[in-house]
Subunit: 417 residues, 2 copies
């Protein structure tokens, strides 16, 4: 049982000095994986001819498919296209379809078409074009000794569009391989070691073609089963059985048996129960609300959020008592509780959540240590509060507070202490 081996090369100095986080590779890897293609390596190199050539040679040594992103723009630091032209021994020619398209894009955007843009329409005559409807730089498909090299622009939505419309269907056609199927179990509240101990016997009984991986995150551990096999339907049944075994053993700490974030699990519950949620965020500044509205359909249960960054907003819109803030402070159990209740009344929601904290020095409160975050979740009948003391920097504290907030809402609605 052998799969197609692939490699992903991302090009750009910005990746090597850390100014840009590479999201393209993860997206490409996921898509290839769904098709049953193994990504063996992902390599990032700078805008340097020698380094790119050396990497391309090395990856073509083991991979049958190499996908390159980046370095296709019209400016001086983009060198991938001439380099590939040389590598595959061709000549640069103007592609009429691409030229037409580039000109029309410039006209649509009311931009002058300058000499430099002409280059966007030039491609090596050794490749076939992967049309880029979203931008000016076309993708390119090269073949050599039965191996395929695909070059794509680095702008994420252009890359995605070309992959979906052009490259993936053609890759599917070109290669054949076994099915790879994943199953996930999302757990919350216990660590990796605890879980490993709890499921050790089941893990040891797994057949060779099914692998288990632990993906720990803030307050949560995601378990991923990966199975390979020629018969996709049989494999799916087999994986479903193993997934049930693990999930049953782990019991109450299982948040979901699909690869969804906790905000999606929260959404599912509210929609199923036809109830609504409203938030009052201070220190997290709208982050929780942003995540809850990432997926379509949030409007079916989510009323909204009062980001009460200034204390006045807590009082005037959420109805937090001035005396509460004076007596207990902005960051306190009492203020968080009145915020959660205020979210219910101001937003006319069935459930309310309030969060107030001091994520870093320089905040509005000096009555609590840096890192203190109070949360409260409530419905008409009851309220639950919790305090956290985060010890990282501002952004990581915010990240942690957001995770813990979603977890707290999820536990409250599921009646888990």
């Amino acid at each position: 049982m052998s799969n197609i081996a692939a490699a992903i090369i991302t090009i750009g100095d910005e990746l090597l000095i850390g100014q840009v986080i590479d999201t393209n590779s993860a997206w490409i890897a996921k898509e290839l994986n769904k098709m049953g293609i193994d990504v063996l390596r992902r390599v990032a190199v700078g805008d340097n001819k020698e380094a790119i050539l050396q990497t391309l040679d090395a990856e073509l040594g083991t991979a049958s498919l190499v996908i390159i992103t980046g370095g296709l723009g019209p400016t001086a630091d983009d060198i991938t296209k001439p380099l590939l032209n040389e590598y595959f021994g061709g000549n640069m020619v103007v592609n009429e379809r691409v030229l037409e398209h580039v000109k029309s894009l410039f006209a649509k955007r009311n931009r002058p078409f300058v000499e430099r843009n002409m280059k966007q329409a030039e491609v090596p005559d050794t490749c076939s074009i992967l049309f880029n409807k979203m931008g000016t730089a076309p993708g390119m498909w090269f073949e050599k000794n039965g191996k395929v090299v695909i070059a794509l622009p680095g702008v994420p939505f252009e890359m995605v569009s070309i992959m979906e419309d052009e490259a993936l269907p053609r890759i599917k056609q070109q290669f054949f391989s076994d099915a790879i199927i994943h199953r996930s179990i999302i757990t919350a509240g216990e660590g990796e070691s605890f879980i490993a101990d709890k499921i050790q016997d089941i893990e040891e009984a797994l057949p060779a073609h099914i692998k288990l991986a632990y993906l720990p995150g803030a307050g949560m551990v995601r378990l991923r089963l990966t199975g390979r096999g020629a018969d996709a339907v049989a494999l799916e049944n087999e994986l479903n059985q193993w997934q049930s075994l693990f999930a049953d053993r782990l019991g109450k700490i299982v948040v979901a048996t699909e690869d969804i974030p906790i905000e999606a699990a929260v959404k599912k519950w509210f929609i199923k129960n036809q109830l609504t949620l409203g938030l009052a965020e201070s220190c997290t500044g709208g982050y929780i609300s942003h995540l809850i509205t990432q997926f379509p359909g949030a409007s079916n249960f989510f009323k909204g959020c009062i980001v009460c960054y200034h204390p006045d907003v807590k009082e005037q819109i959420l109805g937090v008592h001035h005396t509460t803030i004076e007596k207990f402070g902005v960051v306190s159990e009492e203020t968080a509780t009145e915020m959660a209740r205020g979210a219910i009344s101001a937003l006319k929601a069935d459930y309310g959540f309030g969060i107030t904290g001091l994520l870093s020095t320089g905040g509005e409160s000096d009555r609590v240590p840096v890192g203190t975050v109070w949360m409260a979740v409530a419905n008409e009948q009851k309220v639950k509060t919790k305090v956290f003391h985060f010890t990282y920097d501002r952004l990581r504290n915010k990240e942690m507070a957001m995770s813990m907030a979603l977890l707290m809402i999820w536990r409250f609605i599921n009646g888990i202490e």
Copy 2:
């Protein structure tokens, strides 16, 4: 003038199937770069012994410093530690300081210390320990033929903590190199080609030790100058001069002459002018508010945000007229305008911004095409509105709407049409 060459290897199957986006590499690259160390390549490989060894060998062929992250946990899919033990020809021994620390962490978190955790305290006797105060897996520092290999856990905040406290100071001590200094110019509203044409003569006059790179993003292009030299002070002066030349030429499209996001440029303006801002977000769900509060000091100008996901919230808290919504629709110029004005009055702010749109199918409005987003920005005297028609998927539409919103606020306060 030769710099220290480094490579970063990230280990984990999750990176190759795209379930996790690698932020560690960017962070490490940035820190090494600040010290004047060139990252030549970043490589991601799976939890596979052979692949890791082959990659390590290859990178040690060109790099003097290799930093490995991931694969140090206690579970079965983490194989880096035994592999490095073998690679450097050592024996696994229990490190007493680490054991002490691991036990204390478990006690603090009220978790039972199980047999499996004992392994966290075992390290090869060929390395020296990089203490991990944030977690259980210690970092390791190996040396071989004058080259350094550092292995770190993959959990981002643990990796960062070990790098900052232990690894970076030691790297600084071990290696010496030229200074590398960066200068940035952030522009908005024009494309890469337009800018390249406008500054071509200055770019061509750059000396060999100063490079210019274009980093395009949504609606913005970031220019980065990178200079190298033995004399850091002289280099800094030189770079400042070039930066001024470019910025003067680009004129009004320059948002900032430092590497800050647009939300930080907005914050600077409000604090300098001692004015306040309030938001009313519908389709972006709190995303803009989240970004504005990412940095400390937002409380000095940011009053808060009404995330009015449900139409009722628009009316009840922001005072949008029921007849406005009925007549023009939720996604309309009129609703956006009343939202911006409502943000000013409800949040008692000097400036208000309102955004309402339909990011994907299944939203609350069927009166406008998918992708339509109306924005309005206002102060007491005037209001400006704008409509966008985004054509991507939900998440990219949200991303674009957020970028355009911040840009619109920035242009409004700076009096740019």
